[in-house]
Subunit: 261 residues, 2 copies
Amino acid sequence: MNVLIVYAHPEPKSLNGSLKNFTIEHLKNTGHDVQVSDLYAMNWKSALDASDAKTRRDDSYFDASLDSKYAFENGLQSDDIALEQRKLMWADAVIFQFPLWWFSMPAIMKGWVERVYAYGFAYGVGEHNDQHWGDRYGEGTLVGKRAMLMVTAGGWEPHYSERGINGPINDILFPIQHGILHYPGFDVLPPFVVYHTSKVNTDNFPAICNQLGQRLDDLWHTQPIAFRKQNHGDYNIPQLTLKEDIAPEVTGFAAHIVTKQ
Amino acid sequence: MNVLIVYAHPEPKSLNGSLKNFTIEHLKNTGHDVQVSDLYAMNWKSALDASDAKTRRDDSYFDASLDSKYAFENGLQSDDIALEQRKLMWADAVIFQFPLWWFSMPAIMKGWVERVYAYGFAYGVGEHNDQHWGDRYGEGTLVGKRAMLMVTAGGWEPHYSERGINGPINDILFPIQHGILHYPGFDVLPPFVVYHTSKVNTDNFPAICNQLGQRLDDLWHTQPIAFRKQNHGDYNIPQLTLKEDIAPEVTGFAAHIVTKQ
């Protein structure tokens, strides 16, 4: 299978660098093809702006959505964006690897999302009518592909527990896992998280790699997070609120995950 | 009072640009001093990396925290970072204004946070012991200052409601409001959010400005979000889980907000 690793860390000799190298080697040793988008090494441009198109729709006014749509439809996207889109189409699975900085992905990776996720590619896909509100949240260009976050956090695991001060890790990651990955169609696997990174050393690093290796071996079999699909009857359209008879007592992020009966 | 606006939008003639101009004018007309960090106009560097220090601690290994600490303590931060820190110290209130892109702030503003929030300035402040886990989450360098998010969203308001498909807006913003603003000590005001931006036009724009003007007039009186303080007895230290007798039935983000009896 084809695996794309989108990776953001400024220091190759870091824990993240070591985990990335382990991942590449492990995937290759188990017969997969691997590509890596090493955003810092690529000097990836973070800021979405008018220069992301080779020729603009309208020089007098930059509209992030309409300019993106025009560039995508007319083959006028900057080369770095088009290349990353081709990598996504090539991939069967995508691993997004980053240190959790201020409770989200590093700016350079957020800029990858903003620029690569063009209108017509990752959003603004499909028809809008009173049965179907665009191809998103379970439908879209990236359907059939798997995605997994691989995250390191300085904080301790209990700090990210159900009553931990930072908030539960799955809620912190919901805007990414649901809003960035489920949105254009990915099946989203549970994240692989390494906590308390200052305590990782040569003694416990092999155990982390063992766990990670297992997750990589299971990449094609792990059950994805059961995010609800938008257009399959659970939501009122166009309000996009969960219907009254679906999980009637649940609010918040949890309402968008199907729980087993 | 002194108000800093940290602003991220690539098009000056956009809705965000108009709201920013209204905000500046309204604040000045009501007697306040205003500074604006217009990140796109400043060509703000988004990616945190080794070049953020004028002289490095150790050329052979870049550690985001330790390099930041060394540069902050020794006056070796790059000039753009030090200038933004001075603006923060000058401000009585800070407004972070941005379009919600992929359920968070634009990359360029995330990069402002990552680079300006130095170790010793916004984190790594205060002592760690079994009563006090650093000056954070209600204590820290920015205590006594107010912060407010001013956000535009393309989606409709019900999409961001308690059972809306995107998740409730306050949960989406929790990693920012709690993790980025409450963390170094800000009092965080409820956000000002404009939904369904494609429907904003010259007819309804004045009403939005009226609402915004009211929020600006109330900037010093609005009740902040009642985020719990870390070191005031609600949390077990060092696990930083909410104590068993505090809101015993609540989990998730909501547990970290004091509810009225």
